[in-house]
Symmetry: C2
Subunit: 215 residues, 2 copies
């Protein structure tokens, strides 16, 4: 399939401390497209009527995979979409907004299972950014200002919540290469060089549909 | 650490059917360096005195992880290096030859835990090539000539042997991003574009030692 409308969506999955968010931001600036990170939450809230704070808090609770699954499985007892749990409804709202954005404009989206939500859209480039633990700790302490005695726990909890949330909603494994077109260790290139590498990739990308969700 | 000698070693781990071997070959041609694939086995055999056939057959047996572990754990009962099992001695010979090659020349090495064996050598670029199952099947049938009714089993067995062999000798998980600098799905770029992407990466790479083996 050719990318007839010249649209490009780049999704970034990232480990905590890998610099993935900054890479996404610089990528959007360089490509001159919208960067969806926290702004995405604003827009989902705006379109769905759900509270940003509640959605964000539900997602963070995925740190405990069992409780998250339990809360996600509990409907309201009614029939129809209203019978979905809050977690499911939040995810549906997120799904609708991300699909809508992808139809409207080129952009960079960080996190939120965007790679999965955009399956079947052939003009998406899915990237995963990771790094060695020592590098992530250094970045989290020096650049995000996380206190040194808390960094390991925060990193572990954050990535665990991301992995659980991704697994619950996609049935797939977060950070596993096959879910992405390209996975890059951010510890061996300057941020700007990573941005350029992703752009070089997407310029050569064969725009086709993925088959990984065919089963 | 700077790469003072301008040496470059590129190691390629790859799933069966991903085209990783061909990518390695084209990469070596384009860089004008030696390509080590089957030639590596010749050289290990030459330097160690072990039979190529026996080494190759031992590696293939890793398909059964339990039997491979068992065979690898069984020494000869003597003290010293002679007490190592054949599998361990084969791996040691491979280790010595790969380290020696990396000290002598720039090159591309496919498979054989080269990424792990070269840990601590700061001028190595470790790449993993993977692809969607449907793409790998297509390539294996059309380009490697594997009969269609055998391709799924051959693919599964081959990758299982690679994963077990890697896990046994490195204690790490084959195909997990953190073991590589860069992981690329070969289904979304032409082979030549993947080669160029890896070269572009290695030209910008910050040459430093990995910390993933520090524990």
């Amino acid at each position: 399939m050719t990318n007839t409308n010249n649209r490009k969506i780049i999704t970034i999955g990232r480990e905590f401390g890998s610099g993935g968010r900054l890479i996404g931001k610089r990528l959007a600036e360089k490509l001159g497209v919208t960067f969806y990170d926290k702004q995405l939450l604003d827009r989902i809230a705006e379109e769905s009527g759900y509270s940003k704070e509640m959605m964000e808090s539900a997602k963070k609770k995925a740190k405990n995979s069992f409780l998250y699954s339990l809360a996600s499985a509990m409907g309201t007892g009614e029939a129809g979409p209203e019978s979905l749990s809050l977690n499911e409804r939040f995810f549906l709202a997120q799904f609708d907004t991300i699909r809508k954005i992808a139809e409207e404009e080129s952009c960079v989206i960080v996190g939120r299972c965007a790679d999965y939500i955009l399956r079947g859209i052939p003009y998406a480039t899915n990237v995963f950014i990771y790094a060695e633990e020592a590098d992530k700790i250094k970045r989290a302490v020096n650049e995000y200002g996380v206190p040194e005695d808390q960094v390991k726990k925060l990193m572990k909890d954050t990535d665990k919540a991301r992995a659980n949330y991704y697994a619950y909603h996609t049935g797939r494994k977060w950070g596993e290469p096959i879910n992405y077109n390209l996975c890059i260790d951010s510890g061996y290139l300057e941020i700007e060089d990573i941005v350029d590498l992703i752009i070089a990739y997407s310029e050569k990308q064969v725009w086709r549909e993925s088959t990984i969700y065919d089963d």
